[in-house]
Amino acid sequence: MRTEFVCVALSALVATVGVARVAPDETAEKLRSIESHYSKSMVQVRYRQQVSRSTAEPPAEEELTTTGVVVTVDGLVMVSAIIYEPFNQVPHGVGIRFPGSVNRALAKIPEAHVRFMDGSEYPATLLGRDPDADVAFFQIDEGAEDVTFVPVVFEAGTDVTVGEEVVVVSLLGEPLGPAIAVELSRVQAMTMRPLSGFMVATGASDPVGSLVVSREGTVLGYLDALTVPVPDTRSQNPLAFLSIMRDLPKGVGRGFARPARDFVDAGVRIPDAEPVRRGWLGVEMQPLSRELASHMRLPVDSGILLRYVYRNSPAEGAGLEVGDVLFELEGEPVDVNRDEDLGTFAEKLLRAGAGASLEIGYLRKGAPATTTVQLAPAPRSAREAETVKVEELDLTVRELTYDYRAARFLEPERQGVVVVQPPVAVSSNRNRVAPGDLLVRFDDEPIADLASFRAVLANVRARQPDEVVLFVERGRESFFFAVKPDWD
């Protein structure tokens, strides 16, 4: 009796399974076909790059991965320009690109490999960045002479609407992948600022570089950014800063896609041989709230207050001063009231690129004026600064950068190198070198910059003295510090 019951139950199960097989799910078919098609065009790019995990540690080379899409038959691979983003130059505002807690100290990528889903792998060379599409390209360069790759095609006229059903095609990374993951989703919102595009729901753990396609497989967009709930990466609000410094969840269930039309010509243009430095004005900004504008009795109700003008910056060159209110850029009003509005303005400058001349309308003590500013390439900030590590002294120093000068009230003519990792004290000496101290003399020689530090270091290494004295400055304080090098 009992056996019979089990048998009946089993046959019912078999019948159910059988039914599912008999009437195939149309959506599943489509997703499967998308998965199979894009597994030939989506790749994992593995590359080595100098990154630093925290300001306390000097940058070190690490292997990183990102998602790429093949865009030509001869193996040109497009990746998000995220690989160039120094941490603190990420345009702020909603939809910032966010590489996690990694700071890319140098954009240089000495070595890269492109890996396909079928397991084949090819060495590749970084070609550079396409500044218009704001993507970067690798070229597969060896062992693929006979291979015809399947390129992804981006077309114009593929606009989406809110609510439309779409498929997110992403790459499942290690340790489960690499494999293609398809995910049914819908367009949640259209965005205007800082970039025009649209938002889709996605559960992909690392969506940057993923494709958004229609049910029929047509490319609709390119997932280029994550939303991160931080309005202003340069915000002085310590809480906001903290949330940046922590490991953020890589996805928050939502991805920002730029429309396919932005990439129609991508790969046709020859990318820059060297990555382009984005345009830099050299100011710190405060949004002009409506309340401030009205309280200050300004003739405008939006704009940007200049909180700081960096020395020797394009802004200083154009005569801009702290307290000026920027209200017009290239004849268009600067529509900024809140922190999150700054993104649009910042993005305009970044996209204009180094060398661009822009006309700026500003108010000084309420009176309007105009000036033309020629953007410069952004100088290296402390986070991107070049470093020198001295194993024998257990000391790492970095170049003196413009932002360090500003924060320490140093005149442009002041010289030295900045301590990243201080040498270990060998005695009870209370005058201990700390990260951030300015090293101005080394072995009794003045230190102007990294070059002179290297020169003195070479000298010291040749001599191998049993003691080296550093002279460092910390604000208005200074002191000497003797180190016993380990020459073995």
């Binding site: 710190e284 309280h295 702290v322 307290g323 003399r441 002279f471 604000g475 304080e477 003797a482």
Partner: protein, 454 residues
Amino acid sequence: MPLKDTVAWVFGFILVTLVAVDGSAQTLQQQILDARDKVTPALVNVQPITDVYSSGERRSSTGVGSGFIFDADGHVITNYHVAGKAKRLIITLSNKQRVPGVLIGEDPLTDIAVLRLELAEGQTMPAHVALGDSDELSVGQYVMALGSPLALQRSLSFGVVSSKDRYLSDSFKLLTGEKTGSFNTWIQTDAAINPGNSGGPLVNLKGEVVGVNARGAFGASSIGFAIPINIVKEVAAQLIETGHVDRSWLGLTFQPREELAQYFEAESVPGVVIRSVDPDSPAERVGIRAGDMLLAYRGERMSAQFTEELPLIYKRIADTPIGSEVAVAIARGGDVLEFTVTTEERGASRSDEMEFESWGFTARGITRELAREFSLPDNLGVMVAGVKPNGVAFHGQLFAGDRIVAVEDEPIEDLAELRSIYRSFDDGRTDAVLLTVMRRHSRRWILIEPSYEN
């Protein structure tokens, strides 16, 4: 020798020994009791009522500490960190009588405050203590600490001098942010010193006060520190006479030769290394530079091989009458240079704090010391010390550490200017007030909507 005799002899020896030990212990015990009796009548418990500023608000707070009467006029010595800035003082004498006290003077740099008992008509002044000579102390010497640890009044603990020239870093700070201890080394003792002992006497077996107990060590036991009484005598005399201690300033900080001997070839040149010269200081104006070696000051040789020799050098400079022209001998690269420097007043390290109630924050003036600590380029403005959580300044995103440099475009140079502009706004019940602040190197414009709830 018969066994019985041997036993008797051994026994007798033990007895004799016991008697001898007991005899000396008796003496020590008696000495402690005698010393106690000499000091106890002058021992007081100090309860100050102070304004404390925290989280952008002023509150009244009371604490507890110790102190002792040290002259026939009823002057009481205690720590600055006990009674400094007190609005009111309740002093409990050792006979448990409560007496009001007044603050005569205070000196954060040595952590000393002088109070005076306000006896009522007909009350008799208790006997005061005898002051010893802290230079005469030796390590291992018996001492005892009296006071009110954890408010347990008239407690006594006993120990030895563990060290007599302990140097507690020149960056040692009081809870109120003031630096202390640059001008003295400290007596270290294992006589128990706990919170509440502060300001109480450290006493030798003669019943003389040799130090003022000032601090313990967190996470340690049997390590307490007292300020040597010889320093206290000088400071107290000045406080009684003028209410404050005058000190000179040259703008120099020093480093001992200790680990730099080789670099400075200091075996041949004794002196003290000048590690920094303050911008716009008397020393900088005459051309003294960091890395110079100070050899002599006002004709007196200056030398510090070890850190504990630094306080004396700082003290020599501080003790110089303000505005004196002094001769300074410097070694620089094999040459000996002579400079004449005019000393300036050192000034307070911290200015008073003030509450700006309807604006939701507290602020303090920017002294030279504060500017130095925060590496500010100048002393202009007023520093926000605390912001009331959820208050109007908080909502305007003002932060502690911001430097207010203007109100409604009127430049603010110091606390007095901010106070007067605040009062005028407060009287006018202004809807909104625009503050211009410096946050580190960059400017911010902050709009505050004052709250006039109270």
